[in-house]
């Protein structure tokens, strides 16, 4: 047994924040929330405050010369987390503006202590601390006094067993926020990154003493519910994997096109991600739709993740009916500055809510059009995280990729995405007897044998219809086919 002190943690209900902090907020810690104006500092502070404050754990919010308190009350109320019942009893606001203007740091400190003693809060917020610091630069009080003030405030708040947050506008937190940086136990840095017209909000835990926090920048969005952070990490395998152990003979599931099941030697192994690659008009979406429809026939719910233009699916009556019946849910997005984290989060939510077993991603070629520009360069990374998450959810996935047909090349995807999938079906056009014929082949199925035939197929009202026998032509892929020599 260890005699070391145990640092208690407070679980904030800010989605994603506790994971970033390595479990939650350290109790009695002295923190700085830094960032440029408009980066979400005050909102984060309020969200933390309202999630933690209760009659036993009261919160005191000092407003200084930053945002006028009337406005802050007006706008913060718009968030769902703002609980009016807590104002007064569990949450108290105190304006320090006059004290700072008229007095010195010692006066401000005394005022803070008076209020703290009167209300006995467990959480203390000072917004914005930058204005306190500016007083030091402009006024009579020197930097040395400021340093003493911060040190003193930190010591007193910790002795009072209060978890403290200073909120300050700093464009470059690490360089500017000294001397607070030195004293602070935790530093939250919020920022907005613009590339072309898209803005992506990011949060970084620069420092969190005594806790193994997640480093690096993580995406967040601010909605009517407040901040939602999307930690940049893969899901735990133990949490999601429905079957444990190594699967030697996976269950096969029908794809909805019987001849393809045959070519796959009995259907698609459950949990696999199958890539369907082919040029425009080759029937990728038709195959995907059949895959979902077959799932519904088997009693399995489906999720469709669409990146095609939205009107396209309105013309697909089979799919429209599946969606209308509620058997297939759609995850789509109208925003053009999507981040992978948000997409994955939406997807996990829908798969869990509907208990879906099949997912169609149609199509990855358009995926990049929806991503915020800074993520477009790493489509492969994005697809990897998407497929990894889906694999851990235990669902079977069909992803489609549209690829221009370079007749003589045997390419399966852009950016090496094909390496990330478990199985590949390639569709392609070949000129045959004066017409454009369609050919299908199974390129790979991980851990399983499969047909190596190149078969001709047609798209009809019934879906994909594949010829029974392999074609008797050679050199199809070379662009110069010739009849196979029967001898």
């Amino acid at each position: 047994m260890s005699d070391k002190v145990t640092v208690g943690t407070l679980a904030t209900s800010v989605p994603g924040l506790d994971l970033l902090l390595g479990g939650g907020l350290s109790e009695f810690s002295f923190n700085l929330i830094a960032g440029a104006p408009g980066s979400g500092k005050t909102t984060l502070a309020h969200q933390i405050m309202f999630s933690l404050a209760n009659p036993q754990r009261r919160a005191l919010f000092f407003t200084v010369l930053g945002e006028p308190p009337l406005k802050m009350l007006r706008y913060q109320q718009q968030y769902a987390f703002y609980d009016l019942d807590k104002v007064g009893s569990s949450v108290r606001y105190v304006n320090l503006g006059e004290d700072l203007r008229s007095g010195n740091f010692a006066g401000v400190l005394e005022r803070i202590m008076r209020e703290v003693e009167a209300f006995s809060p467990s959480l203390v917020f000072v917004d914005s601390f930058r204005s306190v610091v500016q007083t030091a630069k402009d006024g009579n009080e020197g930097i040395a006094d400021l340093q003493h003030f911060i040190q003193e405030l930190g010591t007193r708040m910790t002795s009072w067993e209060a978890t403290t947050f200073l909120i300050g506008e700093y464009m470059h937190a690490e360089a500017e926020a000294n001397p607070i940086m030195t004293v602070a136990d935790g530093l939250f840095y919020l920022s907005q990154h613009q590339e072309r017209n898209s803005v992506v909000r990011k949060i970084r835990i620069v420092k969190m003493r005594g806790q193994h926090h997640l480093s690096g920048s993580h995406i967040f969005r601010i909605t009517g519910d407040g901040l939602r952070i999307y930690p940049r990490m893969l899901p735990l395998i133990t949490e999601e994997q429905p079957e444990t152990g190594i699967d030697t003979s996976p269950v096969r599931i029908p794809t909805g096109t019987p001849q393809i099941d045959e070519m796959l030697h009995g259907g698609l192994p459950r949990g696999h991600a199958l890539l369907v690659v082919g040029p425009t008009g080759s029937g990728k979406t038709v195959f995907g739709t059949e895959f979902l429809a077959e799932g519904v026939r088997q009693g399995e719910k489906g999720v469709a993740l669409f990146f095609e233009k939205t009107t396209a699916r309105l013309r697909n009556s089979v799919l429209s009916n599946l969606i209308a019946s509620g058997e297939v849910s759609v995850v789509s997005n109208r925003l053009l500055d999507l981040t992978v984290e948000e997409l994955i989060d939406d997807l996990i939510e829908v798969v869990r809510r509907t208990n879906a077993k099949r997912v169609l991603v149609d199509s990855l070629s358009e995926f990049g059009l929806y991503l915020a520009p800074e993520f477009r360069s790493d489509i492969r990374g994005a697809v990897f995280r998407l497929l990894d998450t889906l694999a851990k959810l235990g669902v079977t996935v069909v992803v489609t990729i549209g690829l221009e047909d370079r007749f003589t090349e045997l390419r399966f995807s852009q950016a090496d995405i094909s390496f990330l999938t478990d199985a590949i079906i390639a569709l392609r056009y070949v000129e045959r007897e004066g017409s454009l014929a369609k050919f299908i082949s199974v390129v790979k199925v991980r851990g399983s044998g499969h047909s190596r035939d190149l078969r001709q197929y047609e798209i009809t009202d019934r879906g994909i219809e594949i010829g029974e026998r392999p074609v008797q032509i050679e050199g199809l892929l070379s662009g110069h086919p010739s009849m196979r020599d029967p001898g």
């Binding site: 308190p69 304006n95 503006g97």
Partner: protein, 136 residues
Amino acid sequence: MDKNDNKRQQLISEMFSASRSNGGADVSAWRRLSMHLSPLIGESGFAALYGRAARLVQPRFPWLVLEQSSQSTDLFDQLGKQLSSVDADLAAETNAALLDTFTKLLSGLIGDALTIRLLNSAWSDESHQGNAKEQK
């Protein structure tokens, strides 16, 4: 909206009837409100809102002289003096109109729910304390 408006007006009238007022010139309601509200929105925030309320009711009560100060105590001293200088009924009417306008402005900014909460805590706490002292 109407319901909350009524609630707010009801609080104002209750406060008036509960206070052992020296007629309409009683500004204690303002002092109590200021004690609760100034820490929240700052002394200058309170004074600015009061200034706006006074300006809005002034056309109805032209004898009311508008004071400029960022200290609420100064403002209330002045208001008290001005109210004492007129007929008690008129003073009460003016005071009520000022409070109604002030709280309406506040409510427009921070919402009915929070305003009513603030009025409740400002006026009910103090009147209880007042009663307790009286019983001694």
